[in-house]
């Protein structure tokens, strides 16, 4: 479904991605783990078209998307939940959801799509008229995921959904991600620092170090891998 080959991305003179190859099959949950500054978010932003790859190819459903502007990529069916949630804090929860829907048929099916989101995260329905910024961190993350789902994506890119969120809510969010994948048949590409949780959830995983993919395998294999245990799993997924 998504095929990334030899992608290099620069910020000015600094090279963030050094020829990354990643493949995500339809219906899978694939995770990308790595430490701070490895280039995980850059890869997601490059897929979304916010950052441009200087070389390499990105194919989505056999179509080249590396040179498309971000809004066209969203229209093709790739939605991103950006790092740090980036919800519109001074707009209401409903307006946030409506903005997510603006890519899909200009929000024609808002009511039915919104209902799916409320089924996923019931708390959002009670907060519709509240400003986004008044939600708790976990609720904001739910809103960010819900907002991305409003565009009816075929593939959802998630950037560190567990960042800065209470452990109880992290579990809830990971359950929701699994539901989105199993029930809504949305392919998931998940970037995480919480490697243990991510690998437990994922069908397959990649490890990114300094802009290079150093390891790949099924989630279970990577969990058992000695190097990964030493580098990312010591302390067992940070509570």
């Amino acid at each position: 479904m998504l095929l990334i080959s030899k992608v290099e991305t620069f910020y000015g003179n600094i090279q963030a991605l050094r020829g990354v190859d990643v493949k995500v099959n339809s219906g899978e949950i694939v995770t990308l783990i790595g430490s701070n500054g490895a280039g995980k978010s850059t890869l997601l932003m490059t897929i979304s078209g916010v950052n441009k790859a200087s070389t390499g190819e990105i194919l989505f459903d056999d179509q080249h998307i590396e040179n498309l502007p971000p809004h066209e990529i969203v229209n093709l069916g790739i939605s991103q939940v950006p790092e740090g949630r980036r919800i519109f804090s001074r707009l209401s929860v409903e307006d946030n959801l409506r903005l997510g829907a603006s890519a899909y048929e200009k929000g024609k099916n808002f009511d039915t799509d919104a209902k799916d989101v409320y089924d996923l995260f019931p708390v959002l329905k009670d907060r519709l008229n509240q400003r986004g910024g008044t939600l708790s961190g976990g609720e904001q993350q739910m809103l960010a995921i819900g907002r991305a789902m409003m565009a009816r994506p075929k593939m959802l890119l998630l950037d560190e959904p567990s960042l800065g969120i209470a452990p109880k809510l992290v579990n809830q969010i990971f359950v929701a991600i699994k539901n989105i994948n199993k029930e809504k048949k949305v392919t998931i590409f998940l970037v995480e620092q919480n490697a243990k949780k991510a690998l437990e959830l994922a069908d397959r995983g990649y490890v990114l170090v300094n802009g290079n993919v150093t390891l790949e395998g099924t989630g279970q294999d990577l969990l058992k891998n000695k190097d990964i245990q030493a580098a990312y799993l010591e302390g067992g997924g940070k509570k």
Binding site: M45, S48, G49, V50, P69, P70, H71, I73, V74, N75, S79, Q80, P82, R86, I87, F88, S89, R90, L91, D95, R98, L99, G100, S102, A103, K106, G107, R131, G133, T134, R147, A148, A151
Partner: protein, 425 residues
């Protein structure tokens, strides 16, 4: 702790006094006077001393009573909260009564020509403020050259009306379209800019338009300005005291006595309707996808991109629509004055409009009205004391910034506010 605070406040005030001395010493204190055809410096140290003391004392008092969170006299919070609460709860009623008041205003017993002129001027600024509020308040693009669109509207109205003799109702939309085109023209090069960089470029754009008007003599008559701009007619009925043979005028058609006030009242209602249309448009568009996209863009551009909002189109439409309303206001200005020159479109106009939007509380429609009445009213009150006008204007701004740092009516309520620490108790 308390003593330490007092000590710090005094130190801070003395420092403020020093800055004031450094600033006002040379500017105010050293005055050159011509004496026997030679320039002689005549020092005015007393005035400087007064200014320095006022600055230091003002700083000391604001430190003590406004920025000091521990003390009981919470002037800032109590006044602010009561105003905001009042307007929040009674918002619709207040807006309705304001509209009713504006409608009956021309027929109130105390209304005279002078008050009508001020009211028309205020409504023009309110309309400009509402137009600019689309660009600054909703889309979050700081535009310091808004007067350019006002000028484009005024000049395109004047040129079409003079050369082709088209009526007001035809020229008005044309002027709006022209202004909108200039909005797009400005929008394209500044798509990638934000914040202060954007402000500088828009500032330059405003000056460029003014200089262009000043120098393109063949078209604009440069500094001489355009004269003889046709007055608007009441749907074809002109306002004239002595009609030509067989001509119907406003007063003959309605069987009234001729009075120059008829035209003034008509102009008043014209700008009232134009301003209300601007307001209604803004309120409606906020509920539409495009308006929502503007506000989202103000909040977070990257999030917008990742959601599939096209930032280019969103910014350009904000510039274009904001400019269009500026153009409408410009047409009105041209037809009301019957004479325009580049003199009317200097940077100070942009500055006043931006001040109205910012002091009103960015994004707040009612705030624009309050700020206009406050600022323009103040300028009018001080008309007789010409030299103190700018001091009053500046002082008013300082006061608003001290007491209501987010504008008179802040719709952008902060998501996190500094409160007394509870955890340490």
């Amino acid at each position: 702790m308390r003593k330490n605070f007092l000590y710090l406040s005094i130190k801070d005030s003395l420092f403020t006094g020093l800055i004031a001395l450094a600033l006002f010493g040379p500017i105010v204190g050293l005055r050159t006077v011509a004496k026997n055809e030679v320039l002689v410096v005549s020092p005015k140290w007393f005035i400087v001393l007064v200014i320095v003391i006022v600055c230091a004392l003002g700083r000391f008092l604001t430190n003590l009573y406004i920025y000091n969170r521990d003390q009981k006299f919470g002037i800032q919070s109590t006044i602010g909260k009561s105003i905001t609460n009042f307007l929040d709860t009674k918002g619709t009623q207040i807006a309705l009564s304001a509209i009713i008041f504006s409608v009956i205003f021309p027929f109130l017993p105390f209304t005279d020509r002078y008050l009508m002129d001020i009211a028309i001027m205020m409504l023009t600024y309110i309309m400009l403020g509402w137009g600019l509020n689309i660009v600054i308040g909703l889309a979050g693009l700081l535009d310091l050259g808004y007067v350019a669109f006002y000028a484009v509207g005024a000049y395109s109205y004047a040129l079409f009306a003079i050369h082709f003799g088209w009526s007001f109702w035809i020229c008005l939309p044309i002027a709006g379209i022209f202004a909108a085109m200039f909005g797009v023209l400005l929008g394209f090069p500044v798509l990638r800019l934000r914040g202060d960089y954007l402000a500088i470029v828009t500032l330059a754009f405003g000056e460029m338009i003014r200089i262009l008007l000043l120098n393109w003599y063949q078209l604009t008559k440069g500094p001489d300005g355009l004269t003889g701009i046709p007055r608007p007619s009441f749907f074809g009925l002109p306002f004239k005291s002595f009609p030509d043979e067989g001509e119907q005028t406003f007063h003959t058609f309605f069987g009234l006595e001729y009075s120059p006030m008829q035209r003034i009242i008509f102009l008043y209602y014209l700008i009232l309707v134009l301003a209300l249309i601007t307001n209604l448009f803004t309120i409606k568009i906020r509920r539409l996808p495009i308006g929502r996209a503007w506000e989202a863009l103000r909040e977070d551009e990257i999030a917008c991109k990742s959601l599939g909002v096209n930032p280019r189109n969103t910014k350009l439409t904000a510039f274009a629509i904001g400019a269009m309303f500026g153009g409408f206001a410009g047409s009105f200005f041209a037809t009301r004055q019957a004479f325009i020159s580049p003199e009317s479109f200097t940077f100070i106009e942009s500055a006043i409009i931006v001040a109205i939007v910012v002091l009103g509380g960015m994004g707040s429609q009612t705030g624009v009205v309050l700020a206009t009445v406050f600022l323009i009213g103040l300028i009018e009150v001080f008309r007789d004391f010409e030299s103190y006008r700018m001091i009053a204007f500046g002082g008013a701004m300082v006061l608003i910034m001290i007491f209501r740092p987010r504008g008179i009516l802040a719709t952008r309520k902060p998501t996190i506010t500094l409160q007394k620490k509870e955890a340490t108790k």
